[in-house]
């Protein structure tokens, strides 16, 4: 962290990210965010040089863009951690994730990200911006990993599915590959063969990349 940003200001950054980057816009009106020009968090962001405001329209500076991206990333990683490892229900998820995300600083986010197998989407299916660790594909101790990274004989529970389309998700689920089900990788070559319950399946790498497993021994 180059600068110290308060929790409120971080949350505002996340909302700005959702309204700009994820809606494909450059800027956003203060009205849309529902805040006044005198808002404390906003003033903090302006003071730190993370946003510019002119005539009621707000825009992220390059530094602010990076800051917002990493705030969103921390929030969604926190959600993943809560759901996949700590098995938090969806009702409590939002509230807890907001608290949790503020702990993921100074490399902890990278550790968690590696632990979770560099997830690409949050439990709601929104993208998690990749961090440096994802681009370098850091290996390390893991709790959750895509099936394609497991070794033959590894066992676990399916943590979540990250299908590229809803049809593919539907197909996986209909065939019995569901989150929560026990899974065992039997071979990686020439195709991935895994067992869920009493059924064996053969898939290619593309499908194996979509099945995230919480590894147990």
């Amino acid at each position: 962290m180059a600068v110290q940003v308060s929790n409120q200001a971080q949350e505002l950054l996340e909302r700005i990210w959702l309204e700009t980057e994820e809606k494909g816009r450059e800027e956003v009106e203060l009205d849309r965010l529902g805040i006044s020009p005198e808002d404390g968090a906003l003033e903090e962001l302006i003071r730190l040089g993370l946003v510019n405001v002119s005539e009621g329209v707000l825009k992220l500076t390059p530094q602010g863009y990076e800051e917002a991206k990493s705030a969103i990333r921390r929030h969604r990683l926190a959600e993943r951690l809560l759901v996949d490892v700590l098995e938090t229900g969806y009702q409590l998820l939002e509230e807890r994730a907001c608290k949790f995300e503020h702990l993921l600083f100074e490399g902890i986010d990278e550790k968690i990200c590696t632990l979770l197998g560099h997830p690409k989407v949050c439990p709601h299916g929104n993208p998690i911006p990749p961090g440096r660790c994802c681009l370098e594909a850091k290996e390390g101790e893991r709790v959750v990993a895509p099936l394609s990274d497991l070794k033959p004989g590894d066992k676990g529970k399916i943590a979540y599915l990250q299908a590229s389309s809803s049809k593919e998700l539907q197909k996986l689920m209909a065939m019995g590959v569901l989150p929560g089900a026990p899974i065992e990788l039997k071979r990686r070559f020439p195709s991935y063969v895994f067992k869920v319950g009493y059924t064996e399946y053969a898939v290619d790498k593309r499908v194996a990349d979509q099945i995230y497993v919480r590894i147990t021994d």
């Binding site: 809803s166 539907q170 065939m175 019995g176 020439p190 195709s191 059924t199 053969a202």
Partner: protein, 664 residues
């Protein structure tokens, strides 16, 4: 049974009497539906395309007490929310034909994966029986299911069976008979979580139209964004916009996608039911079949195993037994000695004109060529091939083969699943071209069709080719090597050139099972029947065309045309005729070559060049027609053009190469 897209037990007469009662068999693929269907229906079966689709559905009649029931074997389905055409047809049968009774057939050891479908089916509010099939494997795995308790919880009859040995079928019949009398039906329903229930009931209450299925079912499907029911709403609702708004609002109120949330809830419901009825014992020791299964999918042992299967299955059994022993007897003895001389004399006696006699008999007549080829050469070879194929299918070898070759097949633009049509092509390319239907994308279908036309020799063809190379192992190896190389190279190039999405591979691998002889025989018989009905007329047509071509002298012209490229690849001009006739019967080309060789016109090198070029050369007329029907004529003509060019280019190259190394 692999849905090959053509009849299983086709073309049998149905008993005339109308059915009093309709029963639908439903379940995942590979749970024994076909075996149970056969056990229930016996002999009265029809297979037809489901209206507007290429999916085939078997229907049969069965007697229960004094009532006649129509039994429908639906295509395999994983979920009532369809993804594939098979699933769409299966659901359509359930929702539109409204059976009086549903038999949900599951693989007992996989009940935890299949019970959610039972719960879904119960939402249709049609009387139902749950059949726990393949109990033998469940018991071996140490799974005990408390059937009575399961019945009590679900509120429907549950019948354990071992379809292959007939165990439990009598009880099943009795339970069906009981249900046929009943009108009352009190299904237990799965309650979803409060959030989902609220969403479902909001949509349900907004529905005002009349539906064939319960409104709760409609609401569930709408929430999951099912396009078919969406269309139904538009045609049946007085105010569809209002319903659509309700659906969007309900969807927006949910944290997760409705498909995901509903599937997970159902699984949870199924698991909590099963917690009460399943107990586990120590599984029996690893079985030999599991060991064998492992050997088949490990490349180090699997590839030698595959070669062994090809050698024994294709070379020894199809080539040796089918093309050798059987053809020698039927063709060589029966036809040559008895049928041909007799009919030739008969036609010569009643028809005074030589030209007209030629239409029926002599070298190219309908009977001496067409019928003789169909009955005496092709049928035994193809029949033996189908036998081998059905054994491989019934044992569960194909999914293992598919996973073994998937990586290589990806390079040629296909996925592992395509081994099924390609292996079938080694029997009959025409039939295999139809079976490319089981591939998911248009791109894969085109590539598979192309490769079948180019580089997969049919059983009749390699039957003759193995005879041609008798005692010439090196020549045979060169031929096989070149064809394999062209197959891979052409596939590789096609995968670069044919646009479309990359295929994915995802297949369930059923346990290896000892094939059941009656199953194998009935599948073989059905396929031979299909083959005969579909392809026999083409032989007759081919004979007639050859006759016309000869009478009008068009053939002389064509032969002259073909003789240029034939000479260019270093072959004697006499072989030109072989190429032309090869179009009418691929194998005939090879057989013609056999005659040319016997006359001593070909050196070893020329023999290899001729066999290679002929194998690659255009498909037979039957395959050509089927290609046109399945892929469209533009694609077909393009494919044929490419195939002809490749065959001569390869022939030319092989000729140069063999000369360069001084072979033959």
């Amino acid at each position: 049974m692999i849905p090959l897209g053509f009849g299983r037990r086709a073309f049998r007469r149905v008993e005339a009497r109308e059915a009093d009662f309709k029963i639908a068999l439903v379940g995942n693929p590979n749970v024994g539906k076909s075996v149970i269907f056969n056990a229930l229906t016996g002999r009265y079966v029809t297979v037809s395309n489901y209206p507007g689709t290429t999916v085939e559905v078997s229907k049969g009649k069965a007697k229960f007490g004094d009532k006649i029931a129509e039994v429908i074997d639906t295509p395999g389905m994983y979920s009532l929310l369809p993804i594939t055409d098979e699933e769409r047809v299966a659901r359509s049968i359930l929702t539109h034909e409204r059976p009086d009774l549903i038999l949900h057939i599951v693989d007992a050891k996989n009940i935890s994966r299949m019970l959610p479908l039972t719960l879904q089916l119960m939402e249709l509010e049609v009387p139902m029986i749950l059949v726990l099939n393949i109990m033998d494997e469940a018991e071996r795995a140490g799974i005990r299911i408390d059937v009575e308790k399961l019945e009590a919880i679900l509120g429907i009859p549950v019948v354990p069976t071992i379809a292959t040995s007939g165990k439990g079928i009598r009880e099943l019949r009795e339970r069906i008979e009981e249900r046929m009398g009943e009108e009352e039906w009190e299904p237990s329903k799965v309650k979803l979580n409060p959030e989902l229930e609220r969403a479902v009931s909001e949509v349900e209450e907004s529905l005002e139209g009349e539906y064939d299925v319960p409104k709760r079912f409609v609401a569930l499907m709408l929430l999951q964004d099912d396009p078919e029911l969406g269309a139904e709403v538009r045609s049946r609702e007085p105010n569809p916009r209002r319903v659509e708004k309700k659906v969007s609002a309900a969807r927006a109120s949910l944290a997760r996608s409705p498909v995901y949330a509903i599937t997970m809830q159902r699984q949870r419901a199924a698991d909590s039911i099963l917690d009460q009825v399943i107990s586990f014992e120590e599984a029996r020791r690893r079985r030999f079949s599991e060991l064998l299964g492992d050997l088949m999918v490990n490349p180090w042992t699997g590839i030698p195993f595959l070669l062994l299967v090809l050698y024994l299955g294709l070379y020894k059994i199809v080539g040796g037994l089918g093309a050798g022993v059987l053809v020698d007897f039927i063709e060589g003895t029966l036809f040559e000695r008895y049928v041909n001389p007799y009919v030739t004399r008969f036609f010569e006696a009643i028809i005074p004109w030589k030209i007209l006699q030629d239409l029926f008999v002599h070298d190219y007549g309908i009977i001496t060529l067409g019928v003789r080829y169909a009955v005496a050469i092709i049928l035994p070879i193809v029949g033996v091939f189908f036998l081998v194929f059905s054994v491989m299918e019934d044992s569960g070898y194909f999914p293992r083969l598919a996973m073994l070759v998937d990586r290589v097949f990806k390079r040629i633009g296909l996925n592992g699943r395509a081994v099924i049509p390609l292996v079938l092509g080694l029997g009959c390319d025409t039939m295999a071209t139809i079976v490319t239907r089981i591939l998911e994308t248009r791109r894969e279908k085109i590539i598979a069709t192309f490769l079948l036309a180019l580089a997969i020799p049919c059983s009749a063809q390699y039957g003759v080719i193995t005879a041609l190379f008798a005692g010439k192992v090196i020549s045979f190896a060169i031929w096989a090597g070149v064809i394999l190389f062209v197959f891979l190279l052409a596939g590789f190039l096609a995968s670069r050139l044919v646009p479309g999405e990359e295929p994915t591979f995802f297949m369930e691998i059923p346990p290896l099972r000892l094939p059941k002889i009656s199953n194998v025989l009935s599948k073989t018989a059905a396929r031979m029947e299909w083959y005969f009905v579909e392809v026999f007329p083409m032989f007759i047509l081919a004979s007639v065309l050859i006759w016309i071509g000869r009478v009008t002298r068009v053939f002389d012209l064509l032969v002259k045309l073909i003789s240029y490229p034939v000479r260019a690849i270093g072959l004697p001009p006499e072989t030109a005729q072989v190429f032309l006739y090869g179009f009418f019967r691929r194998d005939y080309g090879a057989a013609g070559l056999y005659d040319v060789q016997r006359e001593g016109l070909l050196s070893d090198a020329q023999l290899v060049v001729a066999a290679v070029t002929l194998t690659l050369f255009v498909p037979c007329i039957a395959q050509f027609l089927v290609m046109g029907r399945e892929r469209g004529w533009r694609t077909t003509l393009a494919v044929v053009g490419v195939v002809i060019s490749i065959s001569f280019i390869v022939g030319f190259t092989v000729n140069l190469a063999l000369k360069a190394v001084g072979f033959g």
